[in-house]
Amino acid sequence: MKIIRVTFVLIMIFVLAGCANLKAVRDYAGESAKLSAYTELTTRFRDTYKREQPYLFGEADQLAQENDRRRKAAYEDLMKIHQRVSLYMQALATLAGENAFDLSKEIDSLSGVIKAYPDFGIDSKHVDAVAGIAKVIAKWITSDYQERAVRDMVREGNEPLQKTLQGMEALVRCYKKTNENERKTVLGFFEVEIPFTDSPKEKLLNVLARAHVEAKTVEYKNVELKYGEAEKGIRSIADGHKKLLESIDRLSSEEVKTIISNFAKDIKTIRENLQKIRG
């Protein structure tokens, strides 16, 4: 009787062990959480005035100061949007994580305890045998629980996430257009002024101005790449999540794993490209 009871307890506990193979989901969500191009560009958007201020005068400068104030006011909310997406992805990665539903440590200590007390009336051979069978069953049951938790999150999360990502794409577009006006204000200033510095007396000024334009042109070119990469990154996250939703019932199939893994790789590549861009 005792052996049956202990065996039952053992099975119940070992059954809770094991974990689903959701590595692809985890990688995708993990990479998505790390993509920070949006925050960088949001900060750049906030700091627009700091960069264009030397080139603005009179009424244009007054308008720019008002814009500066409003951009700073919007900053916190803009950052929150990214923070939520990032937290969502972190939660999804944790939910799909290897350790989220893994109780093997606790089970090991429990079987250790049982083995250490021969008074229970079962020897270690029995414990191992029961653990062996239980682990197979555990794999089914916990895989199922974990997959279901991930499925629920992806299903319910898709709509608000897609909407948020669309919003972020639109925001990056507005940042980009703001940046274009900034570039045209800064470079346009030199374009207008340089032709009037062609006298021999102003040679030094002319050279300095042209050298400055050169540096600024490179700076803006690099930044423009960032907007493109950020948009690509946001779209990859959106497409990856859409794919997750579509294949929600086949998360463990090799084909789906490959597709989701590729999204994770794309996002990682985009992140690395962004790090390579200077300025």
Binding site: T48, E59, A60, A64, A74, L87, S109
Partner: protein, 136 residues
Amino acid sequence: MALANQKQVEDFADIISECADSIHVRLMKAIKNKEIDQYTAQLIFQDEAMLRQRANSLYIDAVNCIVDGLSQSQKSITELIDTAKGKIKTIKKIAGFIDFIADLLVLAAAAYAAKTAPILAALEEIRKDVEALNKN
């Protein structure tokens, strides 16, 4: 705001930006052909810069529209994050429960052998487990 729709605001800002671009092209042509002096060129460029600031102001309006439009989605996402955290916590509770069972088994074994010291030690472990479980 007369232009309530975010897309409309953005489109209008685009048009203003394009106007500034056209002014710039014309200005550069005038400078190249020496149609205007430096002072006039500076005045025209200031007008161009003002238009760009007007456009940028509209882009801020568009940005604020987008943020407002996302409030419901943001709320849903926050709720989902909390749900996920809850699920992970449940598992942690189960982990604590297994600790509890392990210690309970130690107690049973000690009681079976009727040894006082191990019984007291096991009881102390169980007390800690129960505390930990209640905390979650």
